[in-house]
Protein backbone atom coordinates (compact mmCIF):
# COMPACT_ATOMS: atom_id res chain seq x y z
CA UNK A 1 0.00 0.00 0.00
CA UNK A 2 1.27 3.44 -0.86
CA UNK A 3 1.70 5.54 2.20
CA UNK A 4 0.20 8.98 2.02
CA UNK A 5 0.92 9.65 5.65
CA UNK A 6 3.23 12.61 5.60
CA UNK A 7 5.59 13.55 8.36
CA UNK A 8 6.62 17.16 8.54
CA UNK A 9 8.64 19.15 11.03
CA UNK A 10 6.96 22.50 11.29
CA UNK A 11 6.24 22.99 14.98
CA UNK A 12 9.41 21.65 16.55
CA UNK A 13 11.87 21.79 13.64
CA UNK A 14 14.78 24.15 12.89
CA UNK A 15 14.51 25.96 16.21
CA UNK A 16 17.26 28.48 16.75
CA UNK A 17 18.31 31.64 18.54
CA UNK A 18 16.87 33.60 15.64
CA UNK A 19 13.25 33.09 16.75
CA UNK A 20 12.90 36.51 18.39
CA UNK A 21 14.66 38.24 15.52
CA UNK A 22 12.09 36.73 13.16
CA UNK A 23 9.35 37.80 15.56
CA UNK A 24 10.44 41.43 15.46
CA UNK A 25 10.43 41.44 11.69
CA UNK A 26 6.82 40.24 11.86
CA UNK A 27 5.89 42.77 14.50
CA UNK A 28 6.93 45.55 12.16
CA UNK A 29 4.14 44.53 9.78
CA UNK A 30 0.72 45.98 10.26
CA UNK A 31 -1.88 44.09 12.28
CA UNK A 32 -4.37 43.79 9.46
CA UNK A 33 -1.81 42.03 7.32
CA UNK A 34 -1.02 39.55 10.06
CA UNK A 35 -4.72 38.88 10.57
CA UNK A 36 -5.23 38.45 6.87
CA UNK A 37 -2.47 35.84 6.73
CA UNK A 38 -3.97 33.93 9.62
CA UNK A 39 -7.48 33.93 8.25
CA UNK A 40 -6.21 33.05 4.80
CA UNK A 41 -4.24 30.09 6.22
CA UNK A 42 -7.39 28.48 7.64
CA UNK A 43 -5.59 27.72 10.90
CA UNK A 44 -7.94 26.27 13.49
CA UNK A 45 -7.42 25.92 17.24
CA UNK A 46 -5.35 22.93 18.34
CA UNK A 47 -6.93 22.63 21.78
CA UNK A 48 -9.70 20.37 20.57
CA UNK A 49 -12.61 22.64 19.65
CA UNK A 50 -11.13 23.81 16.34
CA UNK A 51 -12.24 27.44 16.33
CA UNK A 52 -10.61 29.50 13.52
CA UNK A 53 -7.67 31.30 15.11
CA UNK A 54 -7.65 34.34 12.85
CA UNK A 55 -11.30 35.00 13.59
CA UNK A 56 -10.73 34.65 17.34
CA UNK A 57 -7.97 37.27 17.27
CA UNK A 58 -10.08 39.52 15.06
CA UNK A 59 -13.04 39.39 17.46
CA UNK A 60 -10.80 40.32 20.35
CA UNK A 61 -9.12 43.07 18.32
CA UNK A 62 -12.52 44.58 17.54
CA UNK A 63 -13.66 44.55 21.17
CA UNK A 64 -13.22 47.97 22.73
CA UNK A 65 -11.35 48.04 26.03
CA UNK A 66 -8.25 49.52 27.65
CA UNK A 67 -7.27 46.15 29.07
CA UNK A 68 -7.04 42.96 27.07
CA UNK A 69 -5.37 39.65 27.80
CA UNK A 70 -3.66 36.83 25.94
CA UNK A 71 -3.82 33.48 27.69
CA UNK A 72 -1.86 30.45 26.67
CA UNK A 73 -3.79 27.36 27.69
CA UNK A 74 -1.19 24.91 28.96
CA UNK A 75 -3.51 22.87 31.14
CA UNK A 76 -3.16 19.84 28.84
CA UNK A 77 -5.14 17.22 30.73
CA UNK A 78 -6.84 15.15 28.07
CA UNK A 79 -5.76 11.52 28.58
CA UNK A 80 -3.17 10.56 26.00
CA UNK A 81 -2.10 14.13 25.17
CA UNK A 82 1.43 15.30 25.86
CA UNK A 83 2.40 17.52 22.94
CA UNK A 84 1.99 20.85 24.75
CA UNK A 85 4.52 19.79 27.38
CA UNK A 86 6.95 18.88 24.64
CA UNK A 87 6.39 22.21 22.86
CA UNK A 88 6.93 24.24 26.04
CA UNK A 89 10.04 22.25 26.78
CA UNK A 90 11.58 22.30 23.33
CA UNK A 91 10.42 25.48 21.56
CA UNK A 92 9.29 27.91 24.30
CA UNK A 93 10.42 30.96 22.28
CA UNK A 94 7.87 30.10 19.63
CA UNK A 95 5.05 29.96 22.18
CA UNK A 96 6.02 33.40 23.47
CA UNK A 97 6.39 34.68 19.92
CA UNK A 98 2.84 33.50 19.17
CA UNK A 99 1.61 35.31 22.27
CA UNK A 100 3.42 38.50 21.25
CA UNK A 101 1.81 38.36 17.81
CA UNK A 102 -1.63 37.91 19.37
CA UNK A 103 -0.89 40.85 21.68
CA UNK A 104 0.12 43.06 18.79
CA UNK A 105 -2.97 42.20 16.75
CA UNK A 106 -5.46 42.56 19.62
CA UNK A 107 -3.78 45.39 21.51
CA UNK A 108 -3.20 43.39 24.69
CA UNK A 109 -0.38 44.32 27.06
CA UNK A 110 -0.57 41.39 29.44
CA UNK A 111 -0.37 37.65 28.93
CA UNK A 112 -0.52 34.54 31.09
CA UNK A 113 0.53 30.96 30.65
CA UNK A 114 -1.90 28.77 32.58
CA UNK A 115 0.34 25.82 33.36
CA UNK A 116 -1.03 22.64 34.87
CA UNK A 117 0.40 21.70 38.28
CA UNK A 118 1.61 18.39 36.87
CA UNK A 119 4.08 20.31 34.70
CA UNK A 120 5.72 22.23 37.57
CA UNK A 121 9.05 20.78 36.50
CA UNK A 122 8.95 23.11 33.49
CA UNK A 123 8.67 26.29 35.54
CA UNK A 124 12.34 27.16 36.10
CA UNK A 125 13.25 26.85 32.48
CA UNK A 126 10.19 28.80 31.38
CA UNK A 127 10.90 31.53 33.90
CA UNK A 128 14.41 31.96 32.48
CA UNK A 129 13.00 32.15 28.99
CA UNK A 130 10.52 34.79 30.14
CA UNK A 131 13.32 36.93 31.55
CA UNK A 132 15.12 36.89 28.24
CA UNK A 133 11.89 37.54 26.36
CA UNK A 134 11.01 40.55 28.51
CA UNK A 135 14.51 41.98 28.18
CA UNK A 136 14.37 41.78 24.40
CA UNK A 137 10.85 43.20 24.26
CA UNK A 138 11.96 46.10 26.41
CA UNK A 139 14.97 46.90 24.25
CA UNK A 140 12.60 47.01 21.26
CA UNK A 141 10.17 49.26 23.11
CA UNK A 142 7.33 46.76 23.09
CA UNK A 143 4.98 46.76 26.04
CA UNK A 144 3.95 43.20 26.69
CA UNK A 145 4.44 41.16 29.84
CA UNK A 146 3.81 37.46 30.38
CA UNK A 147 3.39 35.64 33.69
CA UNK A 148 3.01 31.99 34.55
CA UNK A 149 -0.17 31.09 36.44
CA UNK A 150 -0.03 27.67 38.07
CA UNK A 151 -3.03 25.35 38.00
CA UNK A 152 -3.66 23.05 40.91
CA UNK A 153 -4.78 19.75 39.45
CA UNK A 154 -8.19 19.93 37.77
CA UNK A 155 -8.85 18.73 34.22
CA UNK A 156 -11.89 20.98 33.88
CA UNK A 157 -9.69 24.09 34.21
CA UNK A 158 -8.54 23.40 30.64
CA UNK A 159 -12.02 24.47 29.50
CA UNK A 160 -11.44 28.12 28.70
CA UNK A 161 -14.12 29.68 30.91
CA UNK A 162 -13.29 27.37 33.84
CA UNK A 163 -9.69 28.44 33.36
CA UNK A 164 -10.74 32.08 33.65
CA UNK A 165 -12.78 31.37 36.78
CA UNK A 166 -9.78 29.60 38.25
CA UNK A 167 -7.51 32.56 37.49
CA UNK A 168 -10.02 34.93 39.08
CA UNK A 169 -9.78 33.04 42.36
CA UNK A 170 -13.02 31.12 42.00
CA UNK A 171 -13.85 27.44 41.66
CA UNK A 172 -13.04 26.17 38.19
CA UNK A 173 -16.64 25.93 37.07
CA UNK A 174 -17.35 26.69 33.40
CA UNK A 175 -19.42 29.77 32.60
CA UNK A 176 -22.29 30.04 30.19
CA UNK A 177 -21.28 30.98 26.63
CA UNK A 178 -22.06 33.52 25.24
CA UNK A 179 -20.60 35.86 26.23
CA UNK A 180 -17.35 34.48 24.84
CA UNK A 181 -13.91 35.26 26.26
CA UNK A 182 -13.05 37.37 23.19
CA UNK A 183 -15.41 40.03 24.57
CA UNK A 184 -15.85 39.03 28.22
CA UNK A 185 -12.84 37.08 29.38
CA UNK A 186 -10.35 37.44 32.22
CA UNK A 187 -11.70 39.95 34.77
CA UNK A 188 -14.49 40.62 32.30
CA UNK A 189 -12.08 42.01 29.68
CA UNK A 190 -11.58 40.89 26.06
CA UNK A 191 -9.30 37.86 26.12
CA UNK A 192 -7.78 35.46 23.66
CA UNK A 193 -7.44 31.95 25.06
CA UNK A 194 -5.33 29.77 22.80
CA UNK A 195 -3.83 26.36 23.07
CA UNK A 196 0.00 26.16 23.26
CA UNK A 197 0.27 24.54 19.85
CA UNK A 198 -2.13 27.04 18.24
CA UNK A 199 0.14 29.91 19.28
CA UNK A 200 3.17 28.23 17.76
CA UNK A 201 1.21 27.41 14.59
CA UNK A 202 0.12 31.03 14.26
CA UNK A 203 3.74 32.16 14.50
CA UNK A 204 4.79 29.57 11.93
CA UNK A 205 1.97 30.56 9.56
CA UNK A 206 3.25 34.13 9.55
CA UNK A 207 6.75 32.82 9.07
CA UNK A 208 6.23 30.52 6.11
CA UNK A 209 3.18 32.38 4.76
CA UNK A 210 -0.38 31.10 4.40
CA UNK A 211 0.24 29.64 0.96
CA UNK A 212 2.97 27.29 2.15
CA UNK A 213 0.91 26.35 5.18
CA UNK A 214 -2.11 25.50 3.04
CA UNK A 215 -0.04 23.15 0.93
CA UNK A 216 0.01 20.92 3.98
CA UNK A 217 -3.06 18.89 4.80
CA UNK A 218 -6.27 19.01 2.82
CA UNK A 219 -8.96 21.55 2.19
CA UNK A 220 -10.92 22.48 5.32
CA UNK A 221 -8.14 21.05 7.49
CA UNK A 222 -5.06 22.86 6.41
CA UNK A 223 -1.65 22.42 7.92
CA UNK A 224 -0.11 19.75 10.04
CA UNK A 225 -0.42 19.10 13.72
CA UNK A 226 1.32 17.29 16.49
CA UNK A 227 -0.03 13.90 17.41
CA UNK A 228 0.64 12.27 20.75
CA UNK A 229 0.92 8.55 20.07
CA UNK A 230 0.73 6.07 22.95
CA UNK A 231 -0.62 2.70 24.04
CA UNK A 232 0.13 -0.50 22.15
CA UNK A 233 2.66 0.85 19.70
CA UNK A 234 6.34 0.08 19.17
CA UNK A 235 7.07 3.80 18.75
CA UNK A 236 5.17 5.96 21.21
CA UNK A 237 5.97 9.67 21.03
CA UNK A 238 5.15 12.93 19.31
CA UNK A 239 4.76 13.22 15.55
CA UNK A 240 4.02 16.18 13.31
CA UNK A 241 1.65 14.84 10.64
CA UNK A 242 -0.31 16.43 7.85
CA UNK A 243 -4.05 16.48 8.25
CA UNK A 244 -6.16 14.22 6.12
CA UNK A 245 -4.45 10.93 6.87
CA UNK A 246 -6.63 7.86 7.08
CA UNK A 247 -6.62 5.82 10.23
CA UNK A 248 -5.58 2.77 8.19
CA UNK A 249 -2.39 4.58 7.19
CA UNK A 250 -1.83 5.68 10.73
CA UNK A 251 -2.15 2.15 12.10
CA UNK A 252 0.14 0.82 9.38
CA UNK A 253 2.81 3.18 10.62
CA UNK A 254 2.24 3.04 14.35
CA UNK A 255 0.40 -0.20 15.12
CA UNK A 256 1.97 -3.35 16.54
CA UNK A 257 0.34 -5.57 13.93
CA UNK A 258 -2.53 -6.46 16.22
CA UNK A 259 -4.38 -3.15 16.61
CA UNK A 260 -7.99 -3.65 17.59
CA UNK A 261 -9.04 -0.04 18.06
CA UNK A 262 -7.70 3.50 18.18
CA UNK A 263 -8.97 6.14 20.55
CA UNK A 264 -8.82 9.43 18.66
CA UNK A 265 -8.95 12.64 20.71
CA UNK A 266 -8.52 11.15 24.16
CA UNK A 267 -11.24 10.07 26.56
CA UNK A 268 -13.48 12.84 25.15
CA UNK A 269 -12.91 11.59 21.63
CA UNK A 270 -14.02 8.57 19.66
CA UNK A 271 -12.99 4.96 19.72
CA UNK A 272 -12.60 3.62 16.19
CA UNK A 273 -12.70 -0.18 15.71
CA UNK A 274 -10.52 -1.96 13.14
CA UNK A 275 -13.33 -2.41 10.63
CA UNK A 276 -13.63 1.37 10.31
CA UNK A 277 -9.93 2.22 9.93
CA UNK A 278 -10.23 2.59 6.16
CA UNK A 279 -13.15 4.98 6.14
CA UNK A 280 -11.90 7.24 8.95
CA UNK A 281 -9.74 10.27 8.28
CA UNK A 282 -8.18 12.61 10.77
CA UNK A 283 -9.05 16.27 10.40
CA UNK A 284 -11.74 18.76 11.26
CA UNK A 285 -15.30 18.04 10.25
CA UNK A 286 -16.22 19.22 6.79
CA UNK A 287 -14.04 19.03 3.69
CA UNK A 288 -13.22 15.41 4.39
CA UNK A 289 -14.70 12.23 3.11
CA UNK A 290 -15.98 9.45 5.31
CA UNK A 291 -16.03 9.81 9.02
CA UNK A 292 -13.68 12.64 9.85
CA UNK A 293 -12.66 13.33 13.38
CA UNK A 294 -11.53 16.52 15.03
CA UNK A 295 -8.76 16.02 17.51
CA UNK A 296 -6.50 17.61 20.05
CA UNK A 297 -3.98 15.06 18.85
CA UNK A 298 -4.32 12.21 21.32
CA UNK A 299 -4.00 8.84 19.59
CA UNK A 300 -4.10 5.78 21.82
CA UNK A 301 -3.73 2.36 20.24
CA UNK A 302 -5.22 -0.77 21.74
CA UNK A 303 -4.35 -4.29 20.64
CA UNK A 304 -6.49 -7.39 20.86
CA UNK A 305 -5.29 -8.30 24.35
CA UNK A 306 -7.07 -5.25 25.80
CA UNK A 307 -10.50 -5.33 27.38
CA UNK A 308 -12.63 -2.54 25.95
CA UNK A 309 -14.78 -2.79 29.04
CA UNK A 310 -11.79 -1.90 31.24
CA UNK A 311 -10.90 0.94 28.93
CA UNK A 312 -14.39 2.43 29.05
CA UNK A 313 -14.57 2.03 32.81
CA UNK A 314 -11.25 3.84 33.14
CA UNK A 315 -12.60 6.78 31.08
CA UNK A 316 -15.82 6.94 33.08
CA UNK A 317 -13.83 6.93 36.29
CA UNK A 318 -11.89 9.86 34.91
CA UNK A 319 -15.01 11.84 33.95
CA UNK A 320 -16.84 11.10 37.19
CA UNK A 321 -13.81 12.40 39.08
CA UNK A 322 -13.13 15.42 36.92
CA UNK A 323 -16.74 16.63 36.43
CA UNK A 324 -16.98 19.97 38.23
CA UNK A 325 -20.38 18.87 39.52
CA UNK A 326 -22.05 22.12 38.60
CA UNK A 327 -24.81 20.69 36.42
CA UNK A 328 -26.92 17.62 37.08
CA UNK A 329 -26.77 15.71 33.77
CA UNK A 330 -23.00 15.52 33.94
CA UNK A 331 -22.57 15.10 37.70
CA UNK A 332 -25.13 12.29 38.01
CA UNK A 333 -24.78 11.01 34.45
CA UNK A 334 -21.08 10.14 34.71
CA UNK A 335 -21.75 8.15 37.91
CA UNK A 336 -24.76 6.38 36.43
CA UNK A 337 -22.95 5.38 33.25
CA UNK A 338 -20.13 3.92 35.31
CA UNK A 339 -22.43 2.08 37.75
CA UNK A 340 -24.54 0.99 34.78
CA UNK A 341 -21.82 -0.77 32.81
CA UNK A 342 -20.55 -2.39 36.01
CA UNK A 343 -24.04 -3.76 36.73
CA UNK A 344 -24.37 -5.16 33.21
CA UNK A 345 -20.97 -6.78 33.42
CA UNK A 346 -21.85 -8.41 36.73
CA UNK A 347 -25.14 -9.63 35.32
CA UNK A 348 -27.18 -7.54 37.74
CA UNK A 349 -28.80 -5.81 34.78
CA UNK A 350 -29.93 -7.18 31.41
CA UNK A 351 -27.83 -6.35 28.35
CA UNK A 352 -30.89 -4.34 27.24
CA UNK A 353 -29.94 -1.83 29.91
CA UNK A 354 -27.05 -0.69 27.71
CA UNK A 355 -29.62 0.95 25.42
CA UNK A 356 -30.93 2.98 28.29
CA UNK A 357 -27.40 4.04 29.12
CA UNK A 358 -26.85 5.08 25.52
CA UNK A 359 -29.96 7.25 25.75
CA UNK A 360 -28.63 8.76 28.96
CA UNK A 361 -25.33 9.64 27.28
CA UNK A 362 -27.26 11.28 24.43
CA UNK A 363 -29.21 13.33 26.94
CA UNK A 364 -25.95 14.42 28.54
CA UNK A 365 -24.74 15.56 25.15
CA UNK A 366 -27.70 17.88 24.75
CA UNK A 367 -28.16 19.11 28.30
CA UNK A 368 -24.69 19.47 29.82
CA UNK A 369 -23.30 22.93 30.28
CA UNK A 370 -19.81 22.43 28.93
CA UNK A 371 -17.72 20.24 26.67
CA UNK A 372 -16.87 17.75 29.41
CA UNK A 373 -20.41 16.49 29.94
CA UNK A 374 -21.24 16.95 26.27
CA UNK A 375 -18.44 14.72 25.05
CA UNK A 376 -18.77 11.74 27.39
CA UNK A 377 -21.16 10.23 24.84
CA UNK A 378 -18.39 10.20 22.20
CA UNK A 379 -16.34 7.47 23.78
CA UNK A 380 -19.30 5.87 25.53
CA UNK A 381 -21.39 5.22 22.46
CA UNK A 382 -18.47 4.41 20.19
CA UNK A 383 -17.23 1.74 22.60
CA UNK A 384 -20.60 0.34 23.66
CA UNK A 385 -21.96 0.03 20.12
CA UNK A 386 -18.77 -1.32 18.53
CA UNK A 387 -17.83 -3.68 21.32
CA UNK A 388 -21.17 -4.69 22.79
CA UNK A 389 -20.14 -8.30 23.54
CA UNK A 390 -17.19 -7.13 25.58
CA UNK A 391 -19.54 -5.05 27.72
CA UNK A 392 -21.68 -8.10 28.53
CA UNK A 393 -19.40 -11.16 28.76
Amino acid sequence: MKLSLKKVDLILGSYSNEEYKILFEMLSRNSDEILKDLIESGLKGRGGAGFPTGLKWKLCAEAVSDDKYIICNADEGEPGTFKDREILDRVPKRVLAGMALAAKVTGAAKGYIYLRAEYSFLVNKLQKELEEFHKILKSNNIKFNVEIFMGCGAYICGEETALLQSMEGKRGEPRNKPPFPTTTGYLGKPTVVNNVETLVSAFMVCRIGPEEFKKLGIQGSSGSKLFSVSGDTPKPGIYDLEFGLSLAEFVDEFGDGDTKAVQVGGASGFCVPRKKFNETTIGYRGGLTGDSLPTGGSMMLFNSSRSMYNILRNYLDFFAEESCGQCTPCRIGCQQLKNGIEAVKKGEKDPEYLNQLLKLSDTMKITSKCGLGQSVANSFSSIVTNFTEEMIY
Binding site: P79, F121, C152, P236
Partner: protein, 154 residues
Protein backbone atom coordinates in the same frame (compact mmCIF):
# COMPACT_ATOMS: atom_id res chain seq x y z
CA UNK B 1 1.87 36.17 65.39
CA UNK B 2 1.38 32.44 64.79
CA UNK B 3 3.31 30.68 62.03
CA UNK B 4 0.11 30.46 59.99
CA UNK B 5 -0.53 34.19 60.31
CA UNK B 6 3.00 35.14 59.36
CA UNK B 7 3.03 32.75 56.40
CA UNK B 8 -0.20 34.13 55.01
CA UNK B 9 1.01 37.68 55.60
CA UNK B 10 4.19 36.97 53.66
CA UNK B 11 2.15 35.56 50.80
CA UNK B 12 -0.30 38.45 50.66
CA UNK B 13 2.63 40.86 50.65
CA UNK B 14 4.13 38.96 47.74
CA UNK B 15 0.97 38.50 45.67
CA UNK B 16 -1.41 41.20 46.89
CA UNK B 17 -4.82 40.85 48.50
CA UNK B 18 -7.01 40.68 45.43
CA UNK B 19 -9.36 37.77 45.00
CA UNK B 20 -7.53 36.68 41.88
CA UNK B 21 -4.46 35.92 43.97
CA UNK B 22 -6.33 33.29 45.95
CA UNK B 23 -4.95 30.25 44.13
CA UNK B 24 -1.27 31.33 44.26
CA UNK B 25 -1.70 32.12 47.96
CA UNK B 26 -3.31 28.76 48.74
CA UNK B 27 -0.52 27.04 46.83
CA UNK B 28 2.02 28.93 48.91
CA UNK B 29 0.36 27.87 52.17
CA UNK B 30 0.22 24.29 50.95
CA UNK B 31 3.88 24.24 50.02
CA UNK B 32 4.84 25.48 53.47
CA UNK B 33 2.68 23.16 55.59
CA UNK B 34 2.00 20.26 53.18
CA UNK B 35 -1.72 20.77 53.69
CA UNK B 36 -4.37 23.45 54.13
CA UNK B 37 -5.55 23.45 57.73
CA UNK B 38 -8.90 24.99 58.66
CA UNK B 39 -6.96 27.61 60.57
CA UNK B 40 -4.95 28.57 57.50
CA UNK B 41 -8.02 28.86 55.28
CA UNK B 42 -9.76 31.09 57.82
CA UNK B 43 -6.64 33.27 57.97
CA UNK B 44 -6.48 33.58 54.17
CA UNK B 45 -10.18 34.51 54.15
CA UNK B 46 -9.60 37.16 56.83
CA UNK B 47 -6.67 38.77 55.03
CA UNK B 48 -8.37 38.74 51.62
CA UNK B 49 -11.61 39.90 53.20
CA UNK B 50 -13.75 37.18 51.67
CA UNK B 51 -15.87 34.52 53.39
CA UNK B 52 -14.06 31.41 54.59
CA UNK B 53 -16.66 29.29 52.78
CA UNK B 54 -15.37 30.79 49.52
CA UNK B 55 -11.83 29.86 50.40
CA UNK B 56 -12.88 26.39 51.46
CA UNK B 57 -14.84 25.94 48.22
CA UNK B 58 -11.85 26.96 46.15
CA UNK B 59 -9.41 24.79 48.07
CA UNK B 60 -11.48 21.62 47.89
CA UNK B 61 -11.86 21.97 44.12
CA UNK B 62 -8.25 21.16 43.32
CA UNK B 63 -6.62 17.77 43.65
CA UNK B 64 -3.20 19.27 44.39
CA UNK B 65 -4.46 21.07 47.49
CA UNK B 66 -5.23 18.78 50.39
CA UNK B 67 -7.17 19.52 53.54
CA UNK B 68 -5.45 16.73 55.46
CA UNK B 69 -1.75 16.56 56.35
CA UNK B 70 0.42 15.10 53.59
CA UNK B 71 3.95 13.77 53.67
CA UNK B 72 6.99 15.81 52.77
CA UNK B 73 7.07 13.88 49.49
CA UNK B 74 3.76 13.26 47.78
CA UNK B 75 3.95 10.39 45.30
CA UNK B 76 1.28 10.61 42.62
CA UNK B 77 0.84 7.57 40.42
CA UNK B 78 -1.02 7.93 37.17
CA UNK B 79 -4.05 5.65 36.98
CA UNK B 80 -5.33 6.74 33.57
CA UNK B 81 -5.67 4.26 30.75
CA UNK B 82 -2.19 4.10 29.20
CA UNK B 83 -0.39 3.75 32.54
CA UNK B 84 -3.10 1.33 33.61
CA UNK B 85 -2.40 -0.81 30.54
CA UNK B 86 1.35 -0.61 31.13
CA UNK B 87 1.06 -2.28 34.49
CA UNK B 88 0.78 0.58 36.94
CA UNK B 89 -0.60 -2.05 39.36
CA UNK B 90 2.88 -3.51 39.72
CA UNK B 91 4.26 -0.06 40.52
CA UNK B 92 1.56 0.55 43.10
CA UNK B 93 2.24 -2.82 44.77
CA UNK B 94 5.97 -2.09 44.86
CA UNK B 95 5.43 1.31 46.45
CA UNK B 96 2.94 -0.01 49.00
CA UNK B 97 5.40 -2.73 50.01
CA UNK B 98 8.37 -0.41 50.21
CA UNK B 99 6.62 2.26 52.24
CA UNK B 100 4.35 -0.11 54.18
CA UNK B 101 1.29 2.03 53.56
CA UNK B 102 -1.69 1.77 51.25
CA UNK B 103 -2.72 4.17 48.50
CA UNK B 104 -4.23 7.28 50.06
CA UNK B 105 -2.09 7.00 53.20
CA UNK B 106 0.90 8.82 54.67
CA UNK B 107 3.85 7.20 56.45
CA UNK B 108 4.10 7.68 60.23
CA UNK B 109 7.18 9.84 59.94
CA UNK B 110 5.23 12.10 57.56
CA UNK B 111 7.84 11.63 54.90
CA UNK B 112 5.79 10.02 52.11
CA UNK B 113 2.19 10.06 50.92
CA UNK B 114 0.84 7.80 48.19
CA UNK B 115 -2.04 8.74 45.94
CA UNK B 116 -3.46 8.27 42.48
CA UNK B 117 -3.70 10.98 39.90
CA UNK B 118 -5.07 11.31 36.39
CA UNK B 119 -3.06 11.44 33.17
CA UNK B 120 0.27 13.17 33.77
CA UNK B 121 0.92 13.86 30.10
CA UNK B 122 3.76 11.34 30.05
CA UNK B 123 1.84 8.50 28.42
CA UNK B 124 4.53 7.72 25.84
CA UNK B 125 6.74 6.79 28.79
CA UNK B 126 4.14 4.95 30.86
CA UNK B 127 3.88 4.02 33.63
CA UNK B 128 4.62 7.40 35.17
CA UNK B 129 4.53 9.12 38.53
CA UNK B 130 5.35 12.43 40.17
CA UNK B 131 7.18 12.91 43.44
CA UNK B 132 6.30 16.48 44.37
CA UNK B 133 7.32 18.32 41.18
CA UNK B 134 9.66 15.70 39.74
CA UNK B 135 8.47 13.31 37.02
CA UNK B 136 9.57 9.67 36.85
CA UNK B 137 8.77 7.58 33.79
CA UNK B 138 9.13 4.13 32.23
CA UNK B 139 8.86 2.76 35.75
CA UNK B 140 9.80 -0.76 36.74
CA UNK B 141 9.82 -2.20 40.27
CA UNK B 142 13.63 -1.99 40.30
CA UNK B 143 13.62 1.61 39.23
CA UNK B 144 11.00 2.44 41.88
CA UNK B 145 13.16 0.82 44.58
CA UNK B 146 16.14 2.93 43.59
CA UNK B 147 14.11 6.12 43.48
CA UNK B 148 12.57 5.54 46.91
CA UNK B 149 15.96 4.70 48.43
CA UNK B 150 17.35 7.98 47.16
CA UNK B 151 14.43 9.89 48.70
CA UNK B 152 14.72 8.05 52.00
CA UNK B 153 18.28 9.31 52.24
CA UNK B 154 17.32 12.92 51.68
Amino acid sequence: MTLVESTVTELTLKYGKERRQLLPILRGVYEKFHYLSDESMVEVARQLDISSAEVFGKATFYSFLSGSPQGEFVIRICKTIVCDMKNKKLIVDTLENLLKIKMGQTTHNRKFSLCYTNCLGLCHKAPAMLINNEAYTDLTPDKVRQIITSYKNR
